[in-house]
Symmetry: C2
Subunit: 339 residues, 2 copies
């Protein structure tokens, strides 16, 4: 059982003061080369390790950051977290993960405990239902930098890294138009959520730019579930005029749509093209791989981390920086008629 060795142990052994030891350890210029080397050598020999807790108490900096996501085991979020971890770890930070379970109350608690444990920064993707931002402003009030990713709120002084969802919606729809589709349906998420609204707007704009008048009946609200895509297709196919393409804001709903379409004997992509959103891992593994819009989660995490580091280093914790990443369309068989 290794007894903890402190700077006092070193100072005693060397008959110098603890302050000197501390200086040697911290590259303080006010110390002779000789003493420094001696201290460093004996510290190593005694297997001395700085006590990060004492350091943190003294300095107020813990070298920990917190990440709050709805659920950590969603492919998108875990990839963002990986990006954050890999960018921050070389700088000596540890990443604490928290889940909101898509619930504002949890979000509030998580922010509270994170601030209480004195994290040096917080990264978060807000819950879908979050409206009020007072809990988020607490971070600002305590001078803890907070960076949003993907799902943000507009809070003055806070930075965000998101993708251009409008562009994602535009790209997907434009691609479908290029495949010759003219009657393009859209499965949107909850339109009160910014990202879904933007995807929808992008869809509408692409139609408009190509002289296609959107049919309001063709915009259906679904949740991110396979079943939701199935029932949406059923609903659409009740009418005489059927779509020749579906752009779904969710890969799961897109998959459900594909299953249902095949079930009723419709050829994909010949009769109907389908495009999803998020580039979930499964989309590329299907026998009929699904075209999807990639949100570059890994990049997003890395960049969010960089924004944080810049703020820390520049000391300007309230430097509101808005990064918008370009989404990437992965064209696969479900919408590719040029095979």
């Amino acid at each position: 059982m290794a007894e903890k060795v402190t700077i006092y142990d070193i100072s005693k052994k060397l008959n110098i003061s603890a302050a000197t030891v501390s200086r040697a350890l911290n590259n303080n210029p006010k110390i002779s080369q000789k003493t420094r080397e001696l201290v460093l050598k004996t510290a190593a020999k005694m297997n001395y390790k700085q006590n990060r807790l004492a350091q943190a108490l003294k300095s107020g900096r813990t070298n920990n950051v917190g990440v709050i996501v709805p659920f950590i085991n969603r492919s998108f979020f875990s990839s963002v977290i990986r990006g954050i971890e890999e960018e921050l770890s070389p700088h000596g930070y540890h990443v604490i993960i928290c889940q909101s379970h898509e619930d504002v109350d949890n979000e509030i608690k998580q922010i509270d405990t994170l601030l209480n444990t004195q994290v040096d920064g917080i990264f978060m993707s807000v819950a879908k239902t979050t409206q009020d931002t007072s809990h988020i402003q607490k971070a600002l009030a305590e001078n803890t930098p907070l960076v949003f990713f993907d799902r943000k709120k507009d809070v003055p002084g806070l930075s965000s890294v998101i993708i251009d969802d409008f562009k994602g919606g535009y790209l997907a729809t434009q691609h479908l138009i290029k495949q010759g589709c003219k009657k393009i349906a859209h499965f949107s998420g909850d339109l009160s959520v910014e990202i879904y609204k933007n995807r929808h707007q992008g869809y509408l704009k692409a139609l408009k730019d190509h002289g296609i008048t959107p049919l309001s009946r063709f915009s259906l609200q679904v949740n991110s579930k396979l079943e939701s895509g199935i029932s949406a297709v059923k609903e659409l196919w009740e009418f005489e005029e059927k779509p020749d393409a579906i752009f779904s804001a969710s890969d799961y709903a897109a998959l459900g749509a594909i299953q249902e379409l095949r079930k009723i004997g419709i050829k994909i992509p010949k009769e109907v093209c389908v495009v999803g959103f998020s580039n979930e891992p499964f989309t590329k593994y299907m026998e009929l791989p699904i075209t999807s819009v990639d949100q570059t989660p890994f990049e997003m995490g890395k960049i969010a981390a960089q924004v944080f580091l810049e703020q820390i280093e520049s000391q300007i914790l309230t430097a509101e920086k808005k990064v918008v990443l370009a989404p990437e369309l992965y064209i696969r068989d479900s919408s590719n008629r040029n095979l």
Copy 2:
């Protein structure tokens, strides 16, 4: 900018000593009911928050635990982490995540920095190449409980939560035999890794128990990649005598196998049955859903956390507990001939 309020601020305001305040806050019995209530009320009014850092420095307990996994964005690992987080969070713990990138050197560093930041416990799934365990024993030496999950090492005094990989291999193979398969091939992982060795043993035992003599040519070592499954099938199909089933220790290799089999016109499951391992999300989404062995990662995380909590509460940090969970076979179309 909220100034931090300490127990001294409260003590001054109330004209009592900081010690009394501390006692009131900590439910110390040696204090009058009246004082306690007064303190509690003013603390709340002044918006007092305990400084966890000071507390940690004093007590040596941080209420942080570390989790080391190869990669955090693998479905299996992120689900285990979710289990750990959800079990520990109600007990006031925060979860720090670290990645080893399947590299022992990183593992060593991660353990070092985790111990250095004084985590109260460590959870880990070792890298595939890890042989030497001296870095792991450090945790033991510093009295920090360490719990393995899924990929363990046998270190006296350390606990582990794993699934019964032998049984998983047995179940999968037995299922294939029940489907009428007699020439069952196995795609194994690196057999020097315990979990893969056990799955292989389970496969062999099931064959033996049903009077089938294993063909050594039918055991191929693959890595967990789609391409690996493709080439394994190519290799198998070069011979005159073809298998009528494949049990793959990896879902990805199973998927590759399926793709290749279909390509050469083989009907699944009629001519060849395929079973994978891990129950990756994509397996159930395929047009031909893939039978797979589920490792119950979420449960695994929760139980690992419980093992940790027991050790902490019982003060017996070296209570070597070995939990073995039962794997679950999810039978799907890729191996189900009774449709």
